[in-house]
Structures are given as structure tokens and as C-alpha cells.
């Protein structure tokens, strides 16, 4: 491969680089989850071959508690920072934005390249923690100080973690600047905001969220590093005694971290879901052969979710010791977010109503997204209710909720997007039959792992627990945990089908042609894969993005570039 292919400034190459690396990271994060599920299903039993992989974490193949803590910390961090965000925003944002708005490339191609190359640097930094004295970071992906904030409570892995996350923050910010500049300045003639596909609305909103929230995360991480390395006390109060010795810190406030962290990380939840909602909004009309129901409502709902999403961060802190009156105001904002979310779901249903529905793989994943995301969203209402939160907070109910949003939502959305745009990216179709089998296996096993988590949470099982059988009142949960673990192994195995289909189709897939799905938006008006510069001629846009089944038209799809018949507007 030439140097130009690897250090490319072409947005399509960068998008595919983001895609492949994030899928690899997700695979890694998934493997860590399998180890956790082993411990949860069969607490304390040995996996002898793991001794060689992790001699310190699993001596004799038996997992130590600190290793379990590293596993969920790295699993969560990898999935979020190196999996979902680079996949939904990095891969699809880069690949789709210029193609869908009719631009030859991003506004700042070199910035774009830098944004990608910071990702492996960041991941390498975070993962180096596994080699550090004391192992990888183990304070959860939320890294609450004081646990994460001193050398006495958490080893060098935590320092690598914070440094790596800062690097990733730069990657996100560079990408966001690029997306905003490109969407504002490089739309093709006739591509007004109200003719943009919803995926572009979503990526635009996401970029604004990223730009506003990520600097706060970076600031928090820098303060954390200073507390750890230099002996400042931003998050560390006076009087801490660890292992019998007093720490020389004074004047800090642990809750400050939580405010700063969630000020980023709640919007980050929307960064991880809005693009998926956008893909689904593009895919449903294509496979229902019908205009998107309530285009403007869906577009503005994305913006509304983004805006209100900045006012809900402390719903993660209801039981933290924060003033309970503040809890009330954050509960109200949280309930408000549910309204635009509901609008989207109902509009998607409206899109299916009286359609002409084809169940190809991308559509199955899009329908799976709606079905699963609804569970994630509705269980959020339980957690948003302050008194109910007092019971469910930090139990497995939360773990269930977050997986229904991040796996059921973001990941099904990503599968929908990948299977939908794969022909454009690589010029070949993925195998649809294999795709449908992969969907059904994933759907069934996903639910069998994650749905019981709500029951565990209702039983009072805390999250981040290495061995719940230590609590006699929870010991009866071993059977259900064991079944969940078996389902988890099947879920992971099912992903081999996807990897196989992805790789096999690169060489053997059916050639796709320009527009295999008979879709209307601009990316389908150029060859697959598109040439450098994307379009032979700058496209001119004459209509909205979802003109399917227009009465009187010869075909059931009218591309955005098709000129209106003479004499009409």
C-alpha cells in the first residue's frame, strides 16, 4: 500500500480507516466482556490458559478482584471512546458528510487526517496501562476521584488512561470543527438546510455537542493528572487516610469531578445515539419506499435533544450528596428530553405506515434499532425519577439501560449504517442472507444477555461487583447470571458471521453498481466507490432527501438531483 493510502487526506479513506479501527477496538472490548461474563457466570473458577495472557491478573487462571475492575473499566472505556464514538462520528461523519451534501472533500482534509491518527495514539496510550505497574486503570469508565485521583489509590494505568482520553478529546474536537465548517460552507447548490438528509442534521448537531462539551472533559482530565502527578488538590479533600497513612491533600472537592465529567459525558450519550438515529431516518424511507414522516419534526427533535442534553448531566448524581433541590431540576430536564425522543420514535412508525416495506439486512437492523432503543429510552424514565433512582442507581438496572442504549441503539444503528453504505464504500454488496442470519442471532442473544440485567437490578445487585455471591441475599442469582453468560458467549460468536461477511464480500460480493438500493440522496448519484473528488460534476439539488413513491413519477424514487418537470416549481 502506498504512503498516500495510509496517510490519506481523502475523507473516504479516512472514514474507512475509522471504520476498520473502531470495529477492531469493539472486538477487543467485546473479548474483555467475555472474561467478565466468565467471572459472573462461574465466580472464582479457573480459566487455565488465561494465566499466560494475564499472569498477574489471573494467577492460575483465577481472576483477581482488581483484574475484574480493570476489565469493566477498559471494556467501558474502549467501547465508548474507541468503539462507538469513532464508529458513528468518525467513520460515518467522514465518509458521509461530503458525499451527502455534494462536496468534493472535507473543508480541512489535513486536520481530518490528524483527527484519525490521534485515535491509535490515544488507544495505545490507554492500553499501555495493561503493561504498567499495577495494571490498567480500574476506577470505571467514569473514573471518580479520589479513587482515580491519587497514586495511593490507583496505579500508573490511571495516568495512561487520563492522558489517552485527552488525546482522544483532541481527535474529536478536530473532527467536529471540520464537520461544522464543511456542512456550513460546502453544500452543493440547492442543498438548503431543509433538504439535508437527517443523518447530516444529526452529525451536525453531534459536532456542535462535541465542540462544546469535549473541552470540559479535557480540562477535567488535566486537573486529574495534576492531582495525580504534581500533588495539586482539585478533587481531593483534606483528611484522606489510605492504607493507614494520611495523604497531604487539602481543599479539593470530589463532586467537582462528577459535574465536569458528566457535563461532557451526558452530551456524549447523545453524541453516541443521534448519528444512529440519523442513519435509521435515512434507511427507513429507502426500504419503506415512502417519504420520512415528519421530516422537520425529526430534524428539530435532534437539535432539541442536543440542546436539552446539556441540562441533564447531574441526573447521574442524584444520590451523590448533591443538594436534593438540584436533583429536582435535573429530573425535570431529564423528563423533558424524553419528549423529542418520543417524537422521533412515533415518526419512524409513521414512516412505516402504508409503506412498501422490504426487509433487507440494513432495514432489519434499523427496525431492531427502534425496537431496542425504545427499551433503553423507557428504562431511562425509571432512572430519571429521583426516588426510584435512589433504589436503582448503581445497580445492574443501569447496566441494562446503558446496554440497551449503546448496543441496542448505537450498535444496531451502526450495523444498519454499515450494511447500508458498504456497497458505496467498497463497490460490492454484502451477502444479504448471511446478514439476516447475523441480525437475528445478534437480536436474540443480545436480549438474552441484557434483559435479565433489569431483573438483577431490581433484586438489588450492584454493578461493578466482582463476586456478588459474597452477599448471601444475592447468591441465588447465580443461575440467571450463568444463563446470561452463555448467551453472551453466543452473542460474541455470532459476530464472527459479521466479520466474515464483511471480509468475504470485499472480494466476492456481488458488484453493487451506483445505486443498489434505489435511494434518492446524493451519494447514490456517483460511482461505488466514488472517485477522488466524489462527483464528476458538482451536483445541483432540486428537492428534499426522501422523495419516494411520488405520484405520477415513472419510478418509486426521485433523486435529489432530478430536475422538476418544466413549468413546475
Amino acid at each position: 500500500m502506498s504512503r498516500n493510502k495510509i496517510f490519506s487526506t481523502d475523507h473516504k479513506t479516512i472514514g474507512i480507516q475509522f471504520l476498520v479501527s473502531s470495529l477492531i477496538f469493539m472486538g477487543l472490548g467485546g473479548l474483555l466482556a467475555m472474561l467478565m461474563r466468565w467471572q459472573l457466570g462461574w465466580p472464582g473458577s479457573a480459566l487455565p490458559w488465561m494465566e499466560r495472557m494475564a499472569p498477574q491478573g489471573m494467577p492460575g487462571g483465577i481472576m483477581l478482584p482488581e483484574y475484574y475492575n480493570m476489565l469493566f473499566t477498559m471494556h467501558g472505556s474502549i467501547m465508548i471512546f474507541f468503539g462507538v464514538i469513532p464508529l458513528l462520528v468518525g467513520a460515518f461523519g467522514n465518509y458521509l458528510i461530503p458525499l451527502k451534501i455534494g462536496a468534493p472533500d472535507m473543508a480541512f482534509p489535513r486536520l481530518n487526517m490528524l483527527s484519525f491518527w490521534l485515535l491509535p495514539v490515544s488507544a495505545a496510550t490507554v492500553l499501555t496501562g495493561f503493561l504498567a505497574e499495577g495494571g490498567a486503570a480500574a476506577a470505571g469508565w467514569t473514573a471518580y476521584p479520589p479513587l482515580s485521583g491519587t497514586q495511593a489509590t490507583m496505579g500508573a494505568g490511571q495516568t495512561f488512561w487520563a492522558a489517552g482520553v485527552i488525546v482522544l478529546g483532541f481527535s474529536s474536537i478536530l473532527g467536529a470543527i471540520n464537520y461544522i465548517a464543511t456542512i456550513v460552507n460546502h453544500r452543493a447548490p440547492g442543498m438548503t438546510f431543509h433538504r439535508m438528509p437527517i443523518s447530516i442534521w444529526a452529525l451536525f448537531t453531534t459536532a456542535i455537542l462535541t465542540l462544546l462539551a469535549t473541552p470540559v472533559l479535557a480540562a477535567a482530565m488535566i486537573l486529574l493528572l495534576l492531582d495525580r502527578a504534581v500533588g495539586t488538590s482539585f478533587f481531593l479533600p483534606a483528611g484522606m487516610i489510605v492504607d493507614g497513612s494520611a495523604l497531604a491533600h487539602a481543599g479539593g472537592q470530589p463532586l467537582l469531578w462528577q459535574h465536569l465529567f458528566w457535563f461532557y459525558s451526558h452530551p456524549a450519550v447523545y453524541i453516541m445515539i443521534l448519528p444512529a438515529m440519523g442513519f435509521v431516518s435515512d434507511i427507513l424511507p429507502t426500504f419503506a419506499r415512502k417519504p420520512l414522516f415528519g421530516y422537520k419534526a425529526i430534524a428539530y427533535a435532534a437539535v432539541a435533544i442536543g440542546a436539552v442534553g446539556f441540562l441533564v448531566w447531574a441526573h447521574h448524581m442524584f444520590q451523590s450528596g448533591m443538594n436534593p433541590a438540584l436533583g429536582t431540576s435535573f429530573m425535570i430536564a431529564t423528563m423533558v428530553v424524553a419528549v423529542p425522543t418520543g417524537v422521533k420514535v412515533f415518526s419512524w412508525l409513521g414512516t412505516l405506515w402504508r409503506g412498501d416495506i422490504r426487509l433487507a439486512t440494513p432495514m432489519l437492523h434499523a427496525l431492531g434499532f427502534i425496537s431496542m432503543f425504545v427499551i433503553g429510552g423507557l428504562t431511562g424514565i425509571f432512572l430519571g425519577s429521583t426516588p426510584v433512582n435512589m433504589y436503582l442507581h448503581d445497580t445492574y438496572f443501569v447496566v441494562g439501560h446503558l446496554h440497551y442504549v449503546l448496543f441496542g441503539g448505537s450498535l444496531f444503528g451502526a450495523f444498519a449504517g454499515i450494511t447500508f453504505w458498504y456497497p458505496k464504500m467498497f463497490g460490492r454488496q454484502m451477502n444479504d442472507r448471511l446478514g439476516r442470519i447475523h441480525f437475528w442471532l445478534t437480536f436474540v442473544f443480545f436480549n438474552s444477555v441484557m434483559f435479565p440485567m433489569f431483573a438483577l437490578g431490581m433484586s438489588g445487585m450492584p454493578r461493578r461487583i466482582y463476586d456478588y455471591t459474597q452477599y448471601p441475599a444475592l447468591a441465588h442469582l447465580t443461575d440467571i447470571n450463568r444463563l446470561m453468560s452463555i448467551a453472551a458467549f453466543c452473542l460474541a460468536a455470532s459476530q464472527i458471521l459479521f466479520a466474515f461477511n464483511f471480509l468475504w464480500s470485499l472480494a466476492k460480493g456481488k458488484p453493487a453498481g451506483q445505486n443498489p438500493w434505489q435511494a434518492t440522496t446524493l451519494e447514490w448519484t456517483t460511482s461505488s466507490p466514488p472517485p477522488h473528488g466524489n462527483f464528476a460534476q458538482t451536483p445541483v439539488v432540486h428537492r428534499g432527501p426522501y422523495e419516494y413513491s411520488v405520484p405520477g413519477a415513472a419510478r418509486d424514487w426521485t433523486p435529489q438531483t432530478e430536475e422538476p418537470p418544466r413549468g413546475q416549481g
Binding site: P65, N69, G140, Y144, P145, P146, T153, P237, G239, M240, I241, V242, D243, P254, L255, R289, K290, P291, L292, F293, G294, Y295, G321, P324, T328, M331, M335, A338, V339, G342, V345, F346, S347, L349, L352, R354, D356, I357, L359, V374, I375, I381, F382, S385, T386, P387, V388, M390, Y391, H393, D394, A455, S459, G460, P462, Y466, Y471, P472, A473, Y548
Partner: protein
């Protein structure tokens, strides 16, 4: 659905009722969406000769599905706030509560009763580790502190959870209503022993409780 441990505190029942109210309401919308998906996919599945309708939206429907959920959420918010303020409003903490201090550390709960003088940090204090005893039907006010990192005092049977934050004193109250023994779990990740940071609450008749205090003091 017997996953919940039976409620053993004064407001546990209210929290459960709120949970089930949300359960039925969200359950309705859950079924509505899933049934809608299934029904539309089956009914409008592509067939020869079918053509999709050219519809872009319906203002009336869109107003309904914005306003109706908003009203339902408003009601849920008000109902939640009622319970929340009862539990957490500083003005509504019971005045006659039994005061206990719980000092969390990696990985134990240090428990302190004020003793006959009703003041903490005096020689007549009664202290135990991981053993919290409470009289039944009398409000208990727990002041939480931490020596090292953040922990969270979680008694599932009481539906009570409150973080213990170093540098702060946080408070939570509840009235145990059922005799018995319950687990205290740590609900905030606090290090490698987080999973075994277990304490025990024993709820006793008042007289047994007083006797236990005296006996514990004598054995100190």
C-alpha cells in the same frame, strides 16, 4: 414479579408504587411501539402491485404524540417530586430520629452511636464495625462520612442509597418497619475490595436495641 426484596422501611412502599406506575405507563408505550412495528412490517410488507403512499406527515398526529407524552411525563415528575421531597427535603427530616454516624473506609463501615449524652465524639460513644442495629419503627438519621474514597451506603430492603463522600457529611434518613437482618452493600466502586464491603443491619424491638447498646459498650 418478585424480584424486589420486600420493602422494610416507611417509604419503601411509596418508591415501589412509583416504580410500578412507571412500569405500567412505559410498558404501555413499549407494547404500543413493538406492536406497531410488527403490525406495520407484516401488513405493509412489499408485495407485487403495492405502492407506498406519498405522505410527508400529519400535523394533528404530530401534536398529539408530542403533547400526550409530555403531559404523562409531567404527572410522573410531580409524583416523583412528592416522594423525593418527603425523603430528602432537609426541612422534613424527622426531629426525633435516632442519630447514627457511619464512617466508610476501604472496605468497611465504622458505625458510631452518640451514647447517653446524645453527642458524637465523646467518651460515651458506642462504636461497632459493619454491625448497624436499629430500633423498629423509629426514624434513623444516618450521617455518612468517608476516610478515603467515595462509597455508597445501600440497603436494598429499605430502598435507601446515599454516597459517602470524603470531605463531606451526607445524610439520609428512613424508618425501618420490619424486624430482621438486612445487608448493607457498597454501591459505589471503591477499589479492589468493593465487592466485599458488606455490613449488616439488624432491626430490633426497642428494648432489645437498648440492651444491645449497653452490652456493646460493656464489651468495647
Amino acid at each position: 414479579m418478585g424480584f424486589f426484596p420486600e420493602s422494610a422501611s416507611s417509604f419503601g412502599g411509596e418508591i415501589d408504587r412509583l416504580f410500578w406506575a412507571i412500569f405500567w405507563i412505559t410498558g404501555f408505550f413499549f407494547l404500543l411501539v413493538q406492536a406497531g412495528l410488527l403490525f406495520f412490517v407484516l401488513k405493509y410488507r412489499s408485495r407485487a402491485g403495492r405502492k407506498a403512499s406519498y405522505v410527508h406527515g400529519h400535523t394533528g398526529l404530530e401534536v398529539i404524540w408530542t403533547v400526550v407524552p409530555a403531559l404523562i411525563l409531567l404527572v410522573l415528575t410531580i409524583a416523583s417530586q412528592k416522594v423525593w421531597s418527603e425523603i430528602r427535603s432537609p426541612r422534613r427530616m424527622p426531629k426525633d430520629a435516632l442519630h447514627v454516624e457511619v464512617l466508610a473506609e476501604q472496605f468497611a463501615w465504622n458505625i458510631r452511636y452518640p451514647g447517653p449524652d446524645q453527642r458524637m465524639e465523646t467518651p460515651d460513644d458506642i462504636t461497632t464495625i459493619n454491625e448497624l442495629h436499629l430500633p423498629v419503627n423509629r426514624p434513623a438519621l444516618v450521617s455518612l462520612k468517608s476516610k478515603d474514597v467515595i462509597h455508597s451506603f445501600f440497603v436494598a430492603d429499605f430502598r435507601v442509597k446515599q454516597d459517602a463522600v470524603p470531605g463531606l457529611t451526607t445524610q439520609v434518613w428512613f424508618t425501618p418497619t420490619k424486624l430482621g437482618q438486612y445487608e448493607i452493600r457498597c454501591a459505589e466502586l471503591c477499589g479492589l475490595g468493593h465487592y466485599r464491603m458488606r455490613g449488616q443491619v439488624t432491626v430490633q424491638p426497642r428494648r432489645d436495641f437498648e440492651a444491645w447498646l449497653v452490652e456493646t459498650k460493656a464489651n468495647e
